[in-house]
Amino acid sequence: MDRTPAADRGTSSARDRVARGAARATGALLRRTGAGGGSALPGTVLERLSPGFVERRAAAFGDGVVIVSGTNGKTTTASMLRTILRASGIQTAGNESGSNLRRGVASALMEAPATARMAVLEVDEAALPALVRAMRPRALVLTNVFRDQLDRYWETETIARHLADAMDAAPAGCRVIANADDPLLWHRAREHDVVGFGVASLVGAAATGSRADAEPEACPRCGETLSYAGRTIAHLGRARCTACSWASVAPEYEATVVSSSGMSGIVVKIRGHTIHLGIGGVHNAYNAAAALAAAAVLGVSEERAAKALEEFRPRFGRSEEFSAEGHAGWLFLMKNPAGAGVVIREVTEDERVGAVVVAVSDQIADGRDISWIWDVDFERLEAAGLPTVASGRRAADVAVRLKYAGESPVGVDPEPRGALRTAASAAGQGRSIAVLATYTAMLDVRKALTHSRRARLEDVG
């Protein structure tokens, strides 16, 4: 493989250098003026001043580009894969901040060190087809298709179509690594050079009947009802059509959950390798299987990859630890019913948790239509008898949702600080607080924790 350092190749044009300088200055200015994190606008400047930068910079990675997309698990899967590659001595570049639209990707490429041999980038589903064309990845990892931000994407099928278009647009030789437990996604993926990953159905999981947070369970080929031999999360599982011959397959990289201990971790077995993951939840079994499959496709030994995964720790917002009001706590990002469902399962399995804050906002980044909270399995929280506090800009709607799930919340407070205080007093001595928050609600919680003298946020990433 060509190992010429990136700086000696396509990216060294004078125009790119000038554009990069201007873009960096923009980022620095943004950060200094406090106008933003400075991760996206520099990319816009860069692309304006130097058209084709993304194409040129992507082509300059000696060991190519890997793209991760899909509704849930992009950030964690990409991050796991980078951890594995790093442990194997491959220096990687990426968009760790999760800024995953074209301009964010351009910014990340701009900041990529010349010594990075490979880029692992997470890409937003809608931006995916164009970025696949531009970056010509050697591997494309597709996690799943769930309802998410419907007022932006409109329909689940639109998301599935973006992923299918991206697979069609991939260059010859590109390997697709896709979730074999997701019927809508797998149906499109199996037409390509694909490696499947999945999670063996859980013992005791409902094998029949529809789940509130699942996508419509219709055969992706003929539209008739799917029957499930087992499920893991929402509509993910082993399915077969009741009318035609469509059926999902046992994936090459299938994780079996050996044991699970709430939020502190999960033990999975993939192709004979037992892996103690430092983060809990079935969704992380999927992320680990995806990362392991991708690493294997990239030539990393499975044994080494499995070992590296044990060292992995979560990134921004995907379960951070904090302490507030004398109580320990965990902060979880909640984006859609399926993602929220697995977090709730984790929270109720963990005996340390004494109270739960549910914070929902409705800014563009959260999705303005919050109907989906009615498809979240809050009934499980209520059944566990955990006191809840409603928070976020839509605290009042959360309160109604919790009431209809079984029990009215013990407090309603749009402000995170007040909500945390109420949760702390409801949690009981020595018990922890779990916070489930949509994107901007999570930012508000973080801000409150950072500014509060009685609170501390540990970035465990």
Binding site: T156, P216, E217, T225, S371, W374, A396, V400, Y404, S408
Partner: protein, 245 residues
């Protein structure tokens, strides 16, 4: 459930398919609000090829994606008679978003293909240019009761009412049925359609209760529904009033 057995049968039609916008919340609102008043409630999810249970009081049909609505279409037309019969027997039939369009006479898609509806509501929907998306505030009238509705709309179709249906509401804020005549939703007998998500019933308890009163008319014998503590619902409702479009 109360000791009186089953007073109210609520059918969530195609619950496994038409449920894109939290439609389960509408079913929960109806069921809980009846249970809290001591009525025995049975919620049935009815899928393709399954008959409605006997003595259905309420049928609720939500919205789905285009693909799913296509999948449902055939089965739905085959149960037109069954639904009309139930409605004629006094069952309340509620259609939300895509479900509302299905209750109408027909839907004409972007390519001009005509998809026949159930004709329970005298309305017709034509695919429009661009989607109507945003927060809505509406003034509703149902069985001479007037109340405010808040919700979120997200639809591509433009719906117009025929002479047999009357609008459920007018829209001081939002686009409603078609973005032209300021109407939202439709009512005809015991059939009600609306484009509002939210889901619409939990955040609009008066609307939910009006539908329950219609469904329980005989059992109530003219008595009003017992009042409930709606402090949380009212708070959510008033918070929505100040929301921008």
């Amino acid at each position: 459930m109360s000791g009186r057995g089953c007073d109210l049968v609520v059918v969530h039609l195609y619950a496994d398919l038409l449920r894109t916008y939290g439609d389960r919340g509408n079913v929960l609102a109806l069921a809980r609000r009846a249970e809290w008043r001591g009525f025995g409630v049975r919620v049935c999810e009815v899928g393709r090829g399954e008959p409605l249970p006997p003595k259905t009081d309420i049928v609720l049909m939500g919205g789905g994606t285009d693909r799913v609505q296509e999948i449902v279409g055939e089965d739905l037309l085959s149960r037109g008679g069954e639904l009309l019969e139930a409605a004629a027997a006094g069952a309340v039939v509620i259609g939300i978003c895509g479900g509302y369009q299905f209750l109408g006479r027909r839907y004409v898609d972007a390519r001009g293909t005509v998809i026949e509806g159930l004709g329970i509501l005298d309305v017709e929907t034509i695919a429009g240019e661009g989607r109507i998306v945003g927060n809505v505030r509406a003034e509703a009238t149902l069985r001479d009761e007037r109340f405010e509705l808040i919700g979120f709309e997200n639809h591509g179709g433009r719906t117009r009412l025929g002479p047999d249906a009357r609008p459920l509401a007018t829209v001081p804020q939002g686009q409603g049925n078609n973005g032209g005549d300021r109407t939202e939703g439709a009512v005809q007998g015991t059939a009600v359609g609306t484009y509002l998500h939210g889901p619409v019933l939990p955040a609009n308890p008066r609307f939910a209760d009006e539908l329950l009163r219609m469904a329980l008319a005989e059992r109530l014998g003219g008595e009003p529904l017992a009042p409930l503590d709606d402090a949380l619902e009212e708070a959510a409702h008033s918070a929505a009033r100040s929301r921008r479009r």
